[in-house]
C-alpha cells in the first residue's frame, strides 16, 4: 500500500493540499494511505471527497493535528 504524505503541499493556486489529494485519487491505487494536516482536510471532508472520487475511508486516526487515513477504491 502506498502512502502519500500531503503535509508539505504548498499553499498556492496550483499547489495546495486539496489539489494534491485529488491528484492522489487520480492515480487510482486500489488501496492507499494519506497523511494530511487535519486543519487542511478534516475527516468529514475527506470522506465526502473520497466518495465523490470513488473511494471509501477504511480506517483513520488523528493525532497531533495530523489525519492518517487508509482509503480503498469502492
Amino acid at each position: 500500500m502506498k502512502t502519500y504524505d500531503l503535509r508539505n503541499a504548498g499553499e498556492g493556486c496550483i499547489d495546495n493540499p486539496a489539489l494534491a489529494l485529488l491528484d492522489v485519487f487520480a492515480k487510482r491505487d486500489r488501496e492507499l494511505q494519506v497523511i494530511v494536516k487535519a486543519e487542511d482536510i478534516p475527516l468529514e471532508v475527506l470522506r465526502d471527497v473520497a466518495r465523490s472520487c470513488g473511494y471509501e475511508v477504511k480506517s483513520s486516526r488523528e493525532e497531533d493535528g495530523l489525519l492518517v487515513a487508509v482509503l480503498v477504491r469502492s
Binding site: E11, G12, C13, N16, A18, D40, V45, V49
Partner: protein, 396 residues
Amino acid sequence: MRNVKDDFPILKNRDIVYLDNAATTQKPKSVIEAIKEFYEYHNANIHRGIYPLAREATEMYEGAHERVAKFIGGKMEETVFVRNASEGLNLAAWILKDRIGKGDKIITTMSEHHSNFLPWFKIARMRGARVDVIPTKEDGSIDEEKIIEAIDSRTKIVAVQHASNVTGYITDVKEIARAAHDNGAVIVVDGAQSVPHIPIDVKKLGIDALAFSAHKMLGPTGIGALWMKADLLEEGEPFLEGGDMIKEVHYNSELQVIYNDLPWKYEAGTPNIAGGVGFAAAVDYLERYGMENILPHEQKLAKRIMNGLEEMGVPFVGPRDIKRRGGVVAFSVPGKNPYTVALYLGTKNVCVRAGYHCAQPLHESLGIKGTVRASLYIYNDEEDVEKFLEALEGMP
C-alpha cells in the same frame, strides 16, 4: 420566459452549479457551432491562399477582428488578437518599453492580477525604471485618488485593472486616464474581468490600451485581444517575428524588414483562426443578450450571496456597496482553509475557485491566506445561489 441555461449544453449535460466564471465561462451552442462550422466548411490558412476557400477563411478571421473591435468601440487595425489577456498585457509592456527611460516610473496597484503586475517589473528592470505599487483601501478596493496623486511627470505608464477578480471592485478608469494623459503618461487597462460584464467604449474611457480574453466572455480558450491606439502600435516593435507579420524581408549582408499593416504586424505565424471565429460568435451572443443587462443581473445575485455570507458570519473582501462591484464575491470561512471549502463544495457539484486567484500581493496586503471565490455570469440564477449557500452552510 427563455432560460439562458438552455443555450449552454454543458449546463444541461452536467448537474453543476457553475460559479467559477472569473476563471473561465461556459460556451453557448452558437459559439461551439461557429467553431465546428469553420472547420467543417471554411478551414484554410489566412492571408496566403489564392483559392476561394482561403479567401473565405481570411474574410472570417478579419471579420472577427472587426466584430471584436466594434464591441469595445475600437478600430480593427488597433485590435490585435493574442492568446489571452495575459499575453495582451505582456505585449503591451513590450510595445511600450522604449517609452521608459532610466529613473522613470510605472504605476500599478496592489490589487492587480499577476498578469498586470509582473510584466511591468520586468520592463522596469530592463529600462532602469521603477514600479510604484499603489496600496488598496482597507477592503481591497482600488484607491483612485492615491493613483492620481502618484502620477507625475516621471510617470510613463499607468497599468490598472478595470475590475478585480478578487474584490469585484470596478475601477473609475476615466479619471485615472485623464490624470495620466495630463502628465504625458500612457494608461494600460486590464479588461479581463470587465469586458465580459460591462459595456465598454475605449474612446469614452479615454484609455490607451485594453487587454481581454475570449474565454471569460463565452468564447473559446486560446484567443483574446489587445486593443491599443494605432500610434502606439505603429511606434512599437513586435514581440514575435515570423510569417504574416512582414510585407518584405531582404538580406544582402544587411537585413531589411518591412512590417505588415496593423494589426497583422503583431500576429506572427498562423493564428488561432477558428478561435477568432468563435470569439466573434461570443460577441454576437453577448450583444443579443444585451451588455447593459449583465452587470445588474450579476449584482442582484452577488447581493444575495453577500447577504447569505453575512448571515453565516462569513466575511468577504471588497466594497459592501453593490454599485461599486461586479459579480465576484471572495470570502474566507473562519477557521477553514479556502482549499478545503472549495474541495468540499466540489463534492456537492458547486464549482468555485480557492486560493490567491493570481493576486497574491493583494491577499498578502490584506493579511488573508487565500479566499474562496464565487463568480457569476449571465446563466447563473437564484437557484444556483441558493444551492451554493445551502452547500456552504452544510459544510462540516
